[in-house]
């Protein structure tokens, strides 16, 4: 490492090109670290669990158009038909489906005072009959399911008396663990919590309380409704393929549409995040390539400028490895300098993102990982030009230009 001193003085003699490379590396690090961080945030979001056995579930929409249809009869007959289809575990006519991107939500609180003071939590509501939990494939951890007598069939909307909530809601409203049997307040009415389920998610993946849900025993008698079907393992495609025909066979006065697997619902829900991750990946790849090419360009130029000097050093006894090491060390010094400035830039940039777009602050380990990546890229980029420099013949020194 004896070369450090001559390298530094050489670099100082070419202040502007040194500064440019350093700045370039610094900016690259700042962008790459933040982009990688955003990508990893999105990827963990995309993989977040729904609590449902997704590979066994699909959803569809139905719109009835018969004149004065008996919707209560229709809904019950449809549910019975689907539940009795071979390969179906359970099915439910429901107002909204997890990751379905449409539905109802409302603010609730554990006490009336909390509600009136605006100290409430916005939660998604699922409304259907007692088959909701089994169709979702989720389990009660305490309390009981709805009874048939509790199910309200209504054309409009009436207040239900009871509710089943997810454990997340229970913990938020009753941190002391006494949720079961307590009340949930919603403006001017209250419901009694009769059961707590392990997990369920809302229809909206970007909802701040996506991991919370409340179930009510209420069946809306609307012309439009959604259906969620859970099949046996491996039977999903087959059931999905038959269901429209079966439903229209029973009553042709409707349109069955938007039959989607949970995988498709998941893809649609996270479309923006997937797109963002992919765009950022491309940007990172291009950026690192550009920076690497920049290093190649500058080092090549330096070498062409110093051909005579290299030849002289070789003539004076420097080995090929010495020459190669000289240029690699030079790049390492430049890169390290860039990375130090880049770290400051990366943190500044991240603080701006946190302030303006409510992104969570970066975790520290992204910075050293980014630094090492950039350092390796720098060394790889300098390798070929440095190798070429080492092959300059000592005879060059003796030639005059």
């Amino acid at each position: 490492m004896l070369e450090i001193k001559p390298i530094l003085s050489a670099l100082l003699r070419h202040k502007s090109s040194t500064l440019l490379i350093v700045l370039q590396i610094a900016l690259t690090l700042a962008v790459v670290v933040n982009a990688v961080y955003i990508i990893s945030e999105r990827l963990s979001l995309i993989d977040s669990k729904s609590g449902l056995p997704e590979s066994e579930i699909f959803t569809l929409g139905m719109n009835a158009f018969g004149e004065n249809p008996d919707l209560k009869y229709d809904i019950q007959a449809d549910q019975e038909l689907i539940r009795n289809m071979p390969g179906v575990v359970d099915a439910v006519v429901i107002n909204a489906t997890p990751l379905g991107r449409g539905g109802d939500n409302s603010s609730v609180a554990g006490t009336k005072e909390d509600y009136d003071n605006g100290n409430n939590v916005n939660v998604a509501f699922y409304r259907g009959d007692s088959h909701m939990l089994n169709s979702f494939g989720i389990n009660l951890i305490s309390g009981r399911n709805f009874t048939e007598e509790e199910i309200i069939y209504n054309r409009g909307y009436v207040d239900p008396k009871v509710a089943i909530i997810t454990e997340t809601v229970a913990k938020r409203l009753y941190p002391d663990g006494n949720a079961l049997g307590s009340k949930i307040y919603f403006n001017n009415y209250e419901v009694t919590i009769i059961g707590i389920v392990d997990y369920a998610v809302s229809p909206w993946v970007h909802h701040p309380n996506h991991d919370m849900a409340i179930f009510n025993p209420l069946v809306h008698l609307d012309a439009f409704h959604r259906v969620l079907v859970r099949t046996e393992k491996g039977a999903l495609k087959e059931v999905m393929g038959q269901i429209e025909e079966k439903l229209l066979e029973r009553n042709p006065d409707r349109v069955v549409f938007a039959a989607r697997t949970m995988a498709e619902n998941r893809e649609l829900s996270y479309q923006g995040d997937v797109a963002m991750s992919k765009i950022l990946t491309v940007v990172i790849a291009l950026l690192v390539t550009i920076t690497a090419l920049g290093i190649v360009g500058i080092v090549s130029f330096n070498i062409s400028q110093r051909t005579k000097q290299i030849g002289t050093r070789r003539a004076l006894g420097a080995s090929k490895a010495d020459i190669q090491r000289y240029f690699v060390t030079e790049t390492i010094i430049l890169t390290t300098l860039g990375l130090v400035i880049g770290t400051i830039l990366a943190v500044t940039f991240n603080m701006h993102l946190v302030d303006s777009y409510q992104l969570p602050p970066i975790q520290w380990h992204y910075i050293p990982v980014g630094m090492i990546t950039m350092l390796v890229t720098g060394i790889l980029a300098v390798w070929v030009p440095a190798k070429r420099a080492s092959s300059v013949s000592p005879a060059v020194a003796t030639q005059s230009i």
Binding site: S17, N34, A64, N122, N188, G272, A275, V283, L287, S300
Partner: protein, 437 residues
Amino acid sequence: MFQYYLKLSWLSIKRTPMLSALMVIAIGLGISVSITVLTVDYLMSKDPLPGKSHKLFHVQLDTYNKGNTDSAPGGLPYQLTYQDLMNLSRSEIPSKQSRSLRSGFSVIPEKVGLTPFSRSARVIDNDFFEMFKVPFLFGSPWEDEVNNKAKKVVVIAKRLNDKLFDGENSVGKTINLDKQLFTIVGVIDTWEPTPRFYDVNNGAFSDTEQLFIPFSLIPVLELPSWGSNNAWKSEVFESYEDKLRSETMWLQYWVQLDTKAKQEEYREFLAGYVEQQRPLGRFEKEDAKTDIKDVVQWMENNRVVSDDNSVLVGLSFMFLAVCMLNTIALLLAKYLKRAPEVGVRRALGASKLEIFTQHIVDVGLIGLAGGALGLLLGQLGLLGVKSLYANYERLVNMDLTLIATAIGLAIGASIIAGLYPAWLICRTNPSIYLKTQ
């Protein structure tokens, strides 16, 4: 002289193909990434109705009770209640107005071989078509009287007309929607604004409706909402009437206010309306706000341009900056290599300004090449973006403004990048190089 400079540039590019190619690639990549991101951003946020958008206003009222505030930006709910909409629409201040709802029907085709299918519908007043400059292919909007007296008439979109009537003039024919016969009074030409600026809170990138029916049909047909319903009050709905009387916010309202004076007058009218409703026990908040926002403000309020986009715009400019730093470094290298030649030219009488200009032309030429490459790669980038988002097909296309922006950005950025190297080279002292030669 300019031509001579161009010739010199071309010669120098030929002499340093590697450095020149690297520069063109660096600029090209920088431009392609920026222009791809900018295209999406620009098309999302651009004024959809230039010259008119500032006269069209979306109306908002804060009907919430004390202690409750809407989660929408500014705390004002996006939509209105049916009762407020009916009351407000009696005002004579707006020159045009349209109430609006997204609903939908099952279309039951007569044509052999077609099975019933669902289509979303826009439920509006007849002014809607003129306010938003909807182009008609056949027929016209329904008459004014239908706005108050329900009649089963419909305007359909070209796509639906093609499907049901093979593109023929279907005005006067009927269409079966939910087993009700509607008379077709008009067919509109392709009109698929993206983003769907007239209804951004129900998905700005959802499909445009293919059925347009009179708002006055809402209580008659008891139309469901295919958009969002927001409620702060727990109300029992035994019938559709209950929903119409309720505090549920599920409708939208656009008014055209042509002058500043009219806009002021309308603001006062809204404030007066709130006071007038208070004795009825509504508008509990002492500072219950009202507002009107024009098309562009409404799009901004609804964050049609997502945060992701803004982050990407910032990132893409940092990317461009890296590419430009890269270019400056390469230019320095290239020009230093050429210093002896410049020394000779200076000695033969070329002025500093001439040397400077020549190098700026040189950089401009490389910028132009980089810009062209950037546009080409940008098209690829847009194809990529299109494939990532399901609803962007209609959105992502470059227009002339964007192409000009890309080329301008490329040349502008390269010239800025070239300033320092060109300045450095024109200061070359001729004597040094003359000596070594």
